[in-house]
């Protein structure tokens, strides 16, 4: 029963991992293609659900490890740190605040602009989502060639090291950029400031329109609360824009709203590239390298181990001519040419092993 429950939970986690990767890809693609806000809002909320699920899962595993006094083993050897980084920070710094800002911003498009700068820091954390991909490695256990624990461990180590290195580099570089945002000096800051200054030079409606036409990311220009220029109608803003899709600058009596969807699309494209690179790396490791590792290391070792421990197992190791000089295959050659013939001769003289394995001899006599 316990086993069935455990297996059900493992399968559920696997399904959720696949779904969250699809969700991550969809979220970035919707941003890239500037999909309508309703669709993107659904993806933000589903992101919260996934992050909540993985946070709870991590906390349960962590608690179980603490109870069993295997915290270190779970966090280090079983890569609990990956589970942590791919859940708690995402919920606390990414999906949670995003959802909160959407809910608190409500329906009106132009609101809570101050919160947005803080959310930019949070974007840097998004890259940690790719760490979830490492958990997908568990799924590949079912694959041909990846069923040896040694092969799995090696692939997992290599994948973890590579993905972690990519994530760390991206995270550090994005954090460095985001911290400058907190001080009010984002990469777009000087540009937005300059555009607002240009508008402030002349307060006429004509000037505002001219400037707005020159800068396609200007959405709305307001002077003393009166709209001098708007690029789209209110319906369009309501259906296409979310709290993260615009920014807001003031200069004297002017208020200027800028379209951030282009910037977000660029960011999404970069995120997608990172995500696809890492997916590509993992696929290559699992589909290409894992079979190679199995064929040249674990499979020959497995065959030799069986031959050395099971009396009637006398199959030779298949030596791949291309790798015949590898240590493993040199060992396999000695096994084929030396050990197996000797085993054959010895087994005929005096068998040392037998296929019948009884754990407790006493069990044989029970009830007799």
């Amino acid at each position: 029963m316990e086993r069935e429950k455990g297996s059900f939970l493992e399968n559920l986690v696997m399904i959720m991992i696949v779904l969250v990767i699809i969700q991550t890809l969809l979220e970035d693609m919707c941003t890239l293609w500037m999909a309508d806000w309703a669709s993107r809002r659904i993806l933000v909320f589903t992101g919260v659900v996934f992050d909540l699920f993985f946070t709870i899962e991590f906390l349960l595993r962590f608690q179980s490890a603490v109870v069993r006094k295997k915290t270190f083993q779970y966090m280090v050897k079983q890569r609990g740190w990956v589970d942590f980084l791919a859940s708690v920070p995402l919920l606390v710094f990414h999906s949670g605040p995003s959802a909160f800002s959407i809910m608190s911003a409500g329906g009106p498009v132009f609101a809570a602009a101050g919160v947005l700068n803080v959310l930019k820091i949070i974007k840097a954390v998004r890259i940690a989502r790719v760490l979830r991909l490492l958990r997908v490695l568990k799924i590949f256990r079912q694959l041909k060639y990846a069923d040896s624990p040694m092969a799995q461990r090696h692939i997992a180590k290599i994948a973890t090291a590579m993905v972690s290195a990519v994530v760390a580099v991206v995270l550090i570089s994005q954090f460095a950029g985001s911290f400058s945002t907190v001080t009010g000096d984002s990469s777009m800051g000087p540009y937005h400031d300059g555009v607002a200054g240009l508008l402030a030079e002349d307060s006429s409606k004509l000037q505002a329109e001219d400037v707005a036409k020159k800068f396609p990311d200007i959405l709305v220009v307001k002077l003393n609360g009166n709209t001098l220029y708007t690029r789209y109608d209110n319906d369009y803003y309501r259906t296409q824009f979310g709290p993260l899709d615009y920014s807001y600058e003031t200069r004297e009596d002017y208020e200027v709203f800028f379209d951030l969807r282009w910037t977000n699309a660029l960011q999404a494209r970069t995120d997608l590239v990172y995500l696809l690179i890492i997916i590509g790396v993992i696929i290559v490791l699992v589909v290409y390298y894992s079979p190679h590792f199995a064929l040249t290391v674990t499979d020959p070792l497995h065959v030799m181990h069986r031959g050395m421990t099971e009396q009637h197992y006398n199959l030779e190791v298949k030596i791949l001519p291309k790798y015949a000089d590898d240590d493993v295959f040199r060992l396999a050659k000695a096994y084929n040419e030396g050990f197996l013939p000797m085993k054959g001769r010895m087994a005929e003289a005096a068998p040392l092993e037998n296929d019948i394995k009884i754990e407790k001899i006493e069990d044989l006599f029970k009830g007799l």
Binding site: H302, R306, H312, N314, E316, P341, N354, I356
Partner: protein
């Protein structure tokens, strides 16, 4: 005495139900159980020598009781298997090419069957039959000889040009099968003098063949002497007698090389196929077993090409 048998058979029945033995032939099961008893003697003895089983008896006696009772348990399984093998695989039409007396094939076959049954009571021969029956029932002779005849290389040359067998491929197969069935006979005739050092390998000196031939003729008067001689020769080393009949050399190889065959055997990834592995190992042990290495080379190629 009867009580002893009941206890021994109850214990042996329990071993026979071990799932590891599922799918094995009756003689393979017997071999496995005998090995188990031999290997685990020290662990089994305290309980088997207790009041509940055979109190106060020495281990050798207990082992003997168990062996005898195991044979009693296995025979009802073995005889139908053997009958089936004879009915489906053993034909004697090859005799028409060897002897002038035609039409006595049924009687020869019957005599051979009775003889094999009798040999089953000789422990060493019985053990040899495990490999023989396994090879026969898995059509080793048919598969390899079909290939030999289509390749027309060394083995074919040895059969047709050196041994000068003027019979069809099917008759050659029959002859090899009969030699395989007769090969364990060396266990019956003064084997203690004849067995070479090196454990249980039934390999005899060439001079033993002449001595044993008379006795064998008396037991199988209807079987042509040439067949009996080939059967005895199949237990001599090719390294000591380069003029051994090709049929005997083939029989010697198949009697032992395929004895580890298991019905549920599956090839591990990274391993060579079973027959290719076994034949290659036999090549390396060719001198020890007295095999013709050139024949093994050809069989190895056949196994490799056919992924057997």
């Amino acid at each position: 005495m009867a009580d002893q048998s009941v206890k021994a058979q109850a214990f042996l029945q329990r071993l026979l139900t071990n799932p590891v033995l599922d799918g094995l032939s009756s003689l393979q099961k017997e071999e496995q159980i005998l090995q188990f008893i031999q290997i685990n003697g020290e662990k089994l003895y305290p309980t088997l020598s207790s009041q509940a089983f055979f109190p106060g008896k020495p281990w050798e006696e207990i082992r003997h009781i168990l062996s005898v009772n195991l044979v009693d348990l296995i025979n009802p399984l073995l005889y139908p298997e053997l009958k089936h093998t004879f009915r489906t695989l053993i034909q004697m039409t090859f005799l028409d090419f060897i002897t002038q007396v035609k039409g006595a094939t049924d009687k020869v076959k019957e005599q051979l069957y009775e003889f094999v049954l009798a040999l089953m009571n000789v422990p060493l021969a019985r053990r040899e039959y495990s490999g023989v029956l396994t090879a026969l029932n898995h059509s080793a002779v048919d598969r390899y000889l079909d290939q030999v005849y289509s390749r027309r290389e060394y083995v074919y040359f040895e059969l047709t040009k050196v041994q000068r067998l003027k019979m069809s491929k099917e008759e050659v197969k029959q002859l090899v099968r009969v030699i395989m069935l007769l090969k364990p006979v060396v266990a019956q005739y003064g084997i203690h003098d004849a067995v070479q050092s090196g454990g249980s390998v039934l390999l005899v000196q060439p001079q033993f063949v002449e001595k044993a031939l008379d006795g064998l003729q008396n037991r199988l008067p209807l079987m042509p002497v040439t067949v009996l001689k080939e059967a005895l020769n199949s237990s001599t080393s090719f390294w000591e007698n380069r003029y051994l009949e090709a049929t005997g050399r083939i029989a010697a190889i198949f009697c032992t090389v395929l004895k580890n065959y298991r019905p549920d055997m599956k090839k591990d990834r990274g391993a060579e196929s079973a027959e290719k592995s076994w034949i290659n190992t036999a090549r390396r042990n060719a001198r020890y077993h007295g095999y013709d290495i050139k024949m093994l080379d050809e069989f190895y190629k056949i196994a490799a090409e056919n992924r057997w």
